[in-house]
Subunit: 457 residues, 4 copies
């Protein structure tokens, strides 16, 4: 059963041109004029782009005896609805738990995914078992290892563990990743704020100022440099962190920064909303920043010092958020975004003239496919590539609202945002998951994507 995408303009990270696409067996079989297939998708007036890849999600993530509300089923359904055809989630071993054991747990959850997926492996503690199992993890096609410089007493690793792990990752040809905030300082600031009676969500923002993120980013870059490993900094939210990355890149270091769509568009004023629920729903780490930091992130995308736009999708219901009613440090950290990343970035980026359509593709798909070692299987419109595609209608419009979303939660941080530019059709390995803007879905269709170490970028 072959499919032809007809009449569109193919838009890749470095080129736009008019051509049809033929899809067979889940892959792109031909690109050219006048192609013929068993079924036809009309792409006239549309851009045909590589499906989005969100490299930063936390689906069904265990948290204080419960789980983040979107699992691989609802999460990947949301992803497809927004034009994202692949997610990379984080396998998070508990203290003392083996890496392979954690991987098994994640595999169990991922079976219901609608679209393809991969994992990053988190290094949440250090020891011989971790060191040893890292080889097996890479052999399974998981080449990126996440480290938390914050969440003291829980996920955080110290500098000596960071260095040891980075060296191991480097030796295995992988990529080191960091959540960069100085956990010691965050813990002290949080304790003081609570002691002074600041228990509300706005104190969350006060407890994690841009400085602690900038510092940790700078430190991670140095450790990576000494350890000889490329570094990927997740959720870069501010100029402080961006500056450290920019400086490193100007010295020729291999460092990438990932802003989130939330930080690009939303700002710290959200935490001052009189409605506790409103503010708490926006609690995530790093917190939203001011407009000057937003400008810095956009300039980074324009100039290439920042590489990838992600979501850190980690959805908690209002009910779950209320765990922190009396103490902001107990509000589960995280917001949604999977369904909205592509339309919001298109609207605020391409629609405003800040980004070209090609840069949009690079930031949402191609760059991360290269960084993570799965290009051109993913992130490309080339013969032989997986047919993960989005047929994008630049004229389609809607207003974002929780009522209409795929996500399992009861609100949306982008509520009320008008977007122009939406998927008309979305294909995951050749299967049409969204047709004419309607979700068809394909529960269980998603497969794990094994990735290559020692990538080309």
């Amino acid at each position: 059963m072959s499919t032809v995408i007809r009449g569109g303009t193919i838009v890749t990270a470095d080129l736009s041109y008019e051509a049809d696409l033929l899809i067979e067996d889940g892959r792109i079989a031909a690109i050219g004029q006048g192609l013929v297939g068993d079924s036809v998708l009309n792409a006239s007036g549309c851009y045909v782009m590589p499906g989005g890849i969100d490299p930063h999600t936390h689906l069904e993530m265990p948290f204080m005896g419960t789980y983040s509300a979107d699992d691989f089923e609802s999460g990947t359904r949301a992803a497809l609805a927004g034009g994202t055809t692949m997610v990379v989630d984080f396998a998070l071993p508990s203290p003392g738990q083996g890496l392979l054991d954690a991987l098994q747990m994640w595999d169990n959850k991922a079976g219901r995914a609608h679209c393809d997926y991969s994992y990053h492996m988190a290094v949440t503690w250090w020891g011989e078992q971790v060191f040893d199992e890292m080889q097996a993890v890479v052999d399974r096609g998981i080449t990126s290892f996440k480290h938390f410089m914050a969440y003291k007493g829980a996920l955080m690793v110290n500098d000596d563990e960071l260095f040891a792990s980075f060296r191991r990752v480097g030796d295995l040809g992988g990529i080191a990743m960091v959540h960069a905030e100085n956990g010691d300082v965050v813990a002290e600031l949080s304790a003081r704020l609570l002691a002074e009676g600041n228990t509300g969500p706005e104190a969350h923002a006060y407890s994690r100022p841009p400085q602690v993120e900038g510092e940790a980013t700078n430190r991670a870059i140095m450790v990576a440099d000494m350890a000889g490993v490329p570094l990927y900094v997740v959720h870069v939210s501010c100029e402080d962190s961006h500056e450290a990355i920019r400086r490193a890149r100007a010295q020729g270091k291999r460092v990438w920064g990932e802003p989130l769509i939330q930080h690009l568009v939303l700002d710290e004023s959200e935490y001052f909303n009189a409605d506790w629920d409103h503010a708490a729903r926006r609690v995530m780490s790093p917190p939203f920043r001011n407009k000057a930091h937003q400008d810095s992130l956009w300039a980074g995308l324009q100039s290439g010092s920042l590489s990838v736009v992600a979501t850190d999708h980690c959805a908690f219901t209002t009910e779950q958020k209320r765990t922190g009613r009396e103490d902001f440090t107990k509000i589960p950290n995280g917001t949604g975004g999977l369904e909205d990343r592509m339309p919001v970035l298109w609207t605020k980026g391409v629609g405003s003239g800040r980004l070209t359509p090609n840069e949009f593709v690079a930031a949402t798909s191609t760059n991360i496919a290269k960084i993570l070692g799965m290009y051109p299987q993913k992130g490309a419109v080339l013969v032989g590539s997986d047919a993960d595609l989005v047929i994008w209608d630049p004229e389609a419009e809607k207003t974002i609202t929780a009522d209409a979303q795929q996500s399992a939660i009861d609100y949306n941080v982008f509520e009320g945002v008008q977007v122009k530019g939406l998927p008309r059709h979305v294909l995951t390995r050749g299967v049409v998951a969204v047709r004419d803007g309607r979700m068809l879905g394909a529960e269980g269709h998603g497969r794990f994507v094994a990735r290559q170490p020692r990538g080309q970028v």
Copy 2:
């Protein structure tokens, strides 16, 4: 008559993979495994890359009643010998001369070219005729306009002319280019040096310090920003100029910098050679710089703040250089490099680990093809692209020497440099111009390449 390139690894700006290539009618007809054609070129052990594009040459350039020694015949022969399959030369109107008139003169010279070529148009004076003819120039496919901020009393334009011309270029969807040195200050410094009896070639370097280049680059960037036009800075030789470009790019401005292979590899000590001929042969503008500036240029290529490696090939014989025996300001400015750019950059860049093979392709071919609006006709290995290809043998070695070169001049500034990595075969639109390292040539085969305004980068 079809040709297959068999057994190589295709290396593009963003990907390396093993595949054969089928060439028909001067274009790439297929990429895949086990392709069959009328003739076969063996690429085993080789990289199959887009042929080099040198965007900065001066072939048969008029100069003080004579011409630069390499014309389109010998120049493009040298190009092909080194793996470069396209040159972009500069049409230089005399004061008062119309642009179309100058273009006719360049067309007359270019007929003998072995490989494809295009032109940049220089704006060496300003007036209504220039303004008017710029439209026709763009219509002919020449979308890049060069401006000289130095050579006072000759090619130099003032800031108001620069601004007016930049605005016109912007309106036409073109790209502004600059030779960036502060011509007023250079003239004053030169006059003073001569007055003090410093007449030798080393005074040439003293008369054009990095500061005057950095200043002019910064100024051109501001004028381009105000005029709303993308800017390409030719022959970036120093940190001062690179810093200005880096700063502009970090602000999201569309500015590209072009270091020359000479500045990446050779340094100012050459001017202190006791042999006048040795020093004078290296006289070019900007002059060679010190090691710290070289480091800056390499870091720029690594981090992407510099985009393209060129040559400013403008070859004068020792005899011609001796015109300036008594007065360094009369030494014709320029050095060769067309034949050596690719092997020297590969050796010093890829061989040293500073650049990946993909980055080499980007810097020598793909980036400039995109910038100048001729991608993917040129600079790509894609079905439909022109079969301008180099089959690169990374193990082949030689020592550069003027005795063995294609260029018409009697010396080589890279004399004695050992290179590892050389073309095995070179094709220009499907025609084999170099086979097994031997020059076959194809005089008159080259064609003018018309380019598109409003490019994608």
Copy 3:
């Protein structure tokens, strides 16, 4: 007749301590405890500081057949009222006019001054006469030479003239000064704005964006570096210009930047006031900028990359401003500030915690006295220094209003600003000009201050 200042805290650029001061013959005769004199000024609760020095005024400046409204009488009266005890004005030769001739004209005007004064000499054209007379100017104690990079067709000099003059200044041991805006680009932008029908005062701001100031500053720094002369950049209004200065200073260059009190406190929104008069009264060059630029200027004062706070006091009445009713380029450029600089800087700087009292003294008096070669005659509280002193009451308050000002004009750009911190007494060479906040005045008391070349900073 001796005077004792009793009971205050002496505050200098580098020290605060409690002591009395004895003044004899216009100079400080002793500093210590329990000093006795013929008369006593009560300084209890006050800071005793060097009187302010405003290095940038245009009193009775010729302009389009009229003059700026404050002359040396009203201008220096306003100065003293605000705690400023010395002004440095600009002698502006007309095209072709000799420097000494211009100096004579300024001497004629200055006779009525209430406080001491000096001049900078402007180099508004270039020629042998100018070159020759510069020596005599320096011999007269005028060691600073101003150059306009804007006002094309009037005061502006080109780069070659700039370089020649800078070299001459350097040889004479003087200081080069620049009004840094790219006059060519300003002229083009202005013409286009007018052509498009933008004739109002807001177009003045559009015609001189921060970029043109940043560029010119960067260029002046390069020319000064090549010419071997220290550089003083007047009215630094934006980050672009400040960045160029900061970068130069980090390289060890002797460059100083002068923000104005206006740019520190007022912003571009003033130009959008619906009242034409309101907006036009704020027209000056460079224009007011946005808040981000203001933050940059304050950070510069805090970190020392900017050195001196001035006013560019050049007062025009509303009537005079209305000359530009139909054409913003005809609005006379300039605002007042002499009377308000010290209280406003104290309130917004010291009062907000951004500056220490010692830094306030440095920025308003000591730094410029050193830069201009008249320290410690001026700018110091040392035995032997001129008794130009302000006894500053940090608790005194008022609201600024034109109704109560000394200046001859009918409005005040700081109208309505609340200040806390005002002069209680002001002395000019030992003579009490302000007592208990009341102006006594001393018309004709002011004397010319000759300055030394080759200063210590």
Copy 4:
């Protein structure tokens, strides 16, 4: 008994002028012309400057069961011989030892000092006792607290301790100081080097690259910013660290950097000397760097981003150094410099034109007196200031050699350096300790200098 210094030029941090000085009771009693006293010191042809202050010494420092070889007797004798009239040493509590207890130990050693002295208090561990005793330490006039970010397992404190201590210092009005190197990474690099058989002194340099210093400096700045305390970074040796300081200062933060005379003049090539003793004698932390880093330090002194030149004088004999014969990590860290700092800085700084004499005074004396809260008792030539003075003969010359030095050790890292500019006379609180270049000494004359919190800079 009064003394007059006659015929010299007084040089302070901001002024040079000819005057005599009268000294009575250890203080400056008068400055003026034709002063008369009981005895006269001839200063003709000399500069009369504030005596040097070395804010970074380790005299008789306990180390692995022994002590650094120069104690307060020989150390301060060496200081005076070179024109330094005050030292600030570090009281170093052992793990668990109280601060006041440590202070008692240091008081016991300091009794033999020839010149005045003070201490910094090191915070080498954290706990309630330390927190509590800090108040008493400040009350005793010790307002600066040193923290080690390196020497893991010994002196090093972690980020949470750093933050807690910085906050306490800030609340007490003191200054936080750091030895900035990432101790975790240094420990890992050292272990790996040893494991690979790199046991020699050159491995010391490899184990502490500029990156680990730059990172720690950046981190300390962030922690100080969050804690609200001014920061002083000792022994800034490289661009990485300097850049972090420069960036912080440009944001208006109160951060000072202290380069050592050793890092300004000596470079890493010393560690490659074939003579083990030669190399080991230069082992200190941070290690010497390359020329590019030296240039950065000099530019910092010129532009003011670095404030103070010190020595970190910590002298070990060759015998002591040989403890590390088999293992570079066991080589006692430290070099001498007390006697040589002033002549070497004068020669390489003032003699080369990089610094003015006034800047020399600022960097060697006045700046640190202000930073540490003892200006103008120390660091000034003002009536009432302590008569700690050096009469400096800019024409005197010598070659530095261990044979002629005061220090107790058997070598000198500046051996063979030619200096021009030496003390003719040196006074410590009015007592002549060096007369006509001959050491008279004054064992036990030195007194403890109590300092003020909440300084003016």
